[in-house]
Structure formats: C-alpha cells, structure tokens
Assembly symmetry: C2
Homo-oligomer: 253 residues x 2
DNA sequence: TGTATAGTATCTTATAGAAGAGTTGGCGGC
DNA sequence: GCCGCCAACTCTTCTATAAGATACTATACA
C-alpha cells in the first residue's frame, strides 16, 4: 500500500518498485517535505495523528512511527494530551544546540555583538560556491562582527549567506543575537544540522587588534556549514575564538 | 503489569508506584543492565525478540520498542532476518565514532603509534580524581604516546585510566591501535559516549621536540572523558594535535 | 552443484485502550 | 442574575499487543 498523496507510487505495487520504502518512511518523507515547504509555521501545531492518518490513508500507528522519527531529529515536538508542534529556534535553544562554546567553568556563554558590525553584498568566490553548493555567478551576503562575552571581545565571526535565500537581510542591521531564529522566522530557513571543522591558529595583527589580544595568542578557528531540512547548505560561518575565555565543549555519542 | 524479572515492581500495581515506568522502559533498563553486566559478550547475538518477550512476559512489540532505543544508542545492532547483536568496537568503528580528526581533504585518518610509548602506574592527583569521578587514594595508569599520520608525528596523547577498572593494562605494551576495542574485549568497559573540550594552544619546547615542529606552532588541545554504559567515567584522554596535518571535523544535529 | 523450501529472525502495519490536558456545562451559593 | 467549583466530555498523545510481510540461513533434493 502506498500513500494516497504519492500517486507515482500508488500506481504500481510497492513490491515491484525498486525505490520501495516502508509506509511509515513515506509518511516521514511527506511530512519532512511539507515542513520544509512551510505548510505549518514553526511553533504551530500539526494535525493530530488521527487526522494525518485519515488524510494519508494509513493507520494512526504508522503516522506515529513517522512522527517519532521526526521528534528524535528535533524537527517537531510532542506534548501528550496537547499536540505535535513544529520545532522553533528560540534564542535559548539554538544556542544550546549549535553553539558549543562555553565558559571555562562549563556554564553557558551568551555572547553579544559589538558595535561596528558590517553587512555587504557581493559575488561569491570559487571556494564559497563550493562550500555553499551554489551555481557559478551566485551572490552572497557577507557579515562581519565581533562577539563579546561579559562585555569584552572573544570571537571574530564572518558569516556568508546566499542572497537567493536571504534577499534583504543586508537591510536588517543591527542583526539580532539569535540568527538562526531569524533565518527560520523571516526566511523559512530551518537549520537542523551543522558540519564543523576546527583548526588551531594564532592571532595575526588584524585579529589581535579586533580581539584586544597580543599577536601570537592561540585562537580556535571554526568553520561551520549550516544545513537545512532538505539538505540545503544555508550558511557558512567562520569563527575565530580566544579559548582562554571560551572552551569548545561537545558530547559525542 | 510489571516485568516478571523485576519482582520489586511486580508486587505493587504500577499505577500506584511513584517510580512508574512504562513496560518498554523496564525492558530497556533490564537489557541495559544485563549488557553492562556482560550477560552477552560484544558481537554475540541476543535472544530473539520472541524469546525475550516470552522470558519477560511481555509482547514482542514491547521488547522491540526497547531494542529500538538500544539500537539508536548504538548499544546493539540489528540485522533483519538474522538477529540482534551487542555492538562491538571494531578498530574501524571506534575510530569513526569517537575519533573526529580527519585529513585536510576530509578523508579518514588512521593514526599509528610511534616507538617510545610509556605506561606507568601511580596515585591519582586531585584534578584526575575529579575528572574520573574516583575516590581519594585511587590509582591510575598513565599512558603517553606519539601518534603518527603517514609515518610522521601529528598527535601527542596522554591517557589516564583507573587501575580499578584496568588492573593489568600496564603489562600489555605495546598497546593496540584500537584502544576502545581492547577496553571492551579484555576489561568489559564499553565506551558509549565521550565529552570533549577543545582549546587552541601553541607548541612548547617539549611538544615541539616530540612532534617535530617549531616552538609556537598552533596546536589543538583536546580533553576527552570516555563514558561507559552505566555512566562511569572510564578514560581521560588528552590529545595535542598539529592541525596543519589533521582537522577536527564534527557534525552537530 | 545449483535450486527449492522450510524455519526463524526482524520489520511493518493495524487496533484497542490508557493517560494527559483542556473545555464545557451544570449546579449551588451569594 | 452572577460567580466559582467540579464533573463529564472530548481531544490529544502514549502504551501495549497481535498478525502478517520481509529477510536471511541452512538443509534437502535433483
């Protein structure tokens, strides 16, 4: 049996299809696509399991299995007796999930942006096209800012965004503290995963000046690509961090 | 209804118990405990879902739900038509899971140990007791070794293990490449998670000599605590890595 | 030596009832 | 009439079970 909303599969018996996927997987794919398309806004409730089951022509338990998967992937949240909600990036949450820098004592750090933030639009260069998976000729927005902890500079950030996804973001300065919430709320770009690459480096003259440290201070250099629901590469962020002030802490499992 | 193998719960109706846990959760706990106790060796097959269900007096679906959870936590592996197996740390796997250093082009790095590895036993110091959650007076084994990529040194490693958990590990030199597989196979210590803290640092004289780099070279300093199935802190590992040769790459989700 | 076939394992789907959370309406007191 | 309390109802997700489908292995057989 195939989903009523997937007519291309409904026409042939699933057993004969080379792209066979279990029913609950089809439901999962369908829901992911709809969430990606913004059928429900973040924070909004999805139809109930029964309603979804009826609409898709499967049983409630099958819908439930798909929703379970979405829940562990943090795309949705469920509350017994209330409903199922599309996850939203609150300021708190997105920091907890993707911001791995903590204070040396292990407590959460909440950085703020210094004066002098710059936003400009320009053509993307070759490595940027590659990292963001863009077609040649695409434009990007480049944001540069200094992030502070307890009032003194600790991180240099450079953020690259495809203009195609964020058409007017250069008119939104000063940018809010929780960028991912902005991406989600204003541009429908929901970042669900991130690939990070870390190097050790030392502060050069320009770094030293902006961070208020001496040349040669060790810096943690972080390259991050933010991934959207459908695998789109949404953001490329480069951070250079003074790790005497902040520690990169991550739990592998 | 409570598990037949959990008599403390079976005596009172679950509804009245303040420690109420769903059946499938009780099954899960029971299985985790048994795996931790080594009821089945790593790589060995568990009884079938039906057999477990019969033994525990629940339905196959309930056992399955518990096994599903164990599977996402990577404590077990399942193969349709074959059976369910206790996960084992093969050399390949443990590297993929907890070794986040890759070559600059993104391919997997397989380090080897240089000559000159040292293993010694001594009393644990205060910070070590704290990190490993040991009682005062406990002893540790300290391992120091240089790890190489393509034949040239890239990582300095210092490993601390509680002697209580690894009684005779100092007699096993040279240690194998895949330490976590050794922990699991010979000492029943199955590492399922790890907490890592990363700093940027520069090479001091001793580092420079052992790694063959100049003093002042940026180094990535990694502190890792390995966590066992029941939350025990099994290993404290400190790595100092030349990130011109290796990159720390991690995917957050 | 290759091919059915039986048996046993996990995987998929469906259904029924329990438990949580809010809403509504009745009822008594003021 | 108006307010407050509480039980009943209805909606939700959660739990537990059962039955059939699918996958793999080994054995019997031509």
């Amino acid at each position: 049996m195939a989903l009523a909303t997937v007519p291309t599969m409904a026409s042939t018996p699933v057993e004969e299809s080379p792209h066979y996927r279990p029913l609950y997987r089809q439901v999962y794919d369908s829901l992911v696509r709809q969430i990606a398309e913004g059928a429900w806004r973040p924070g909004e409730a999805l139809p109930s399991e029964q309603a979804l089951a009826a609409r898709l022509g499967v049983s409630q338990g099958t819908v439930r299995k798909a929703l379970d998967t979405l829940a562990v992937e943090k795309l949705i949240e469920r509350r017994q007796g209330k409903g199922t909600y599309v996850a939203e990036h609150t300021a708190e949450r997105s920091l907890f999930r993707f911001f791995k820098l903590t204070l040396p004592d292990g407590t959460r750090a909440t950085p703020t942006t210094e004066e002098g933030e710059t936003v400009r639009r320009r053509a993307a260069r070759a490595p940027e096209l590659k990292r963001l998976g863009l077609a040649p000729g695409a434009s990007v927005v480049e944001i540069n800012r200094v992030r502070s902890i307890d009032g003194s500079p600790a991180i240099l950030e450079r953020i690259l965004l495809p203009v195609a996804l964020f058409p007017d973001i250069d008119k939104r300065i000063p940018l809010p503290n929780a960028l991912y919430a902005l991406y989600q709320r204003e541009y429908g770009q929901n970042i669900v995963a991130a690939e990070e690459e870390l190097h050790a480096d030392v502060a050069r003259r320009e770094d030293a000046k902006r961070l208020g440290v001496v040349v040669g201070t060790p810096l943690l250099h972080i390259e991050r690509v933010g991934i959207g629901v459908d695998g789109t590469r949404v953001e490329w962020r480069t951070s250079r961090c003074d790790t005497r002030r902040l520690v990169y802490a991550v739990t592998l499992s």
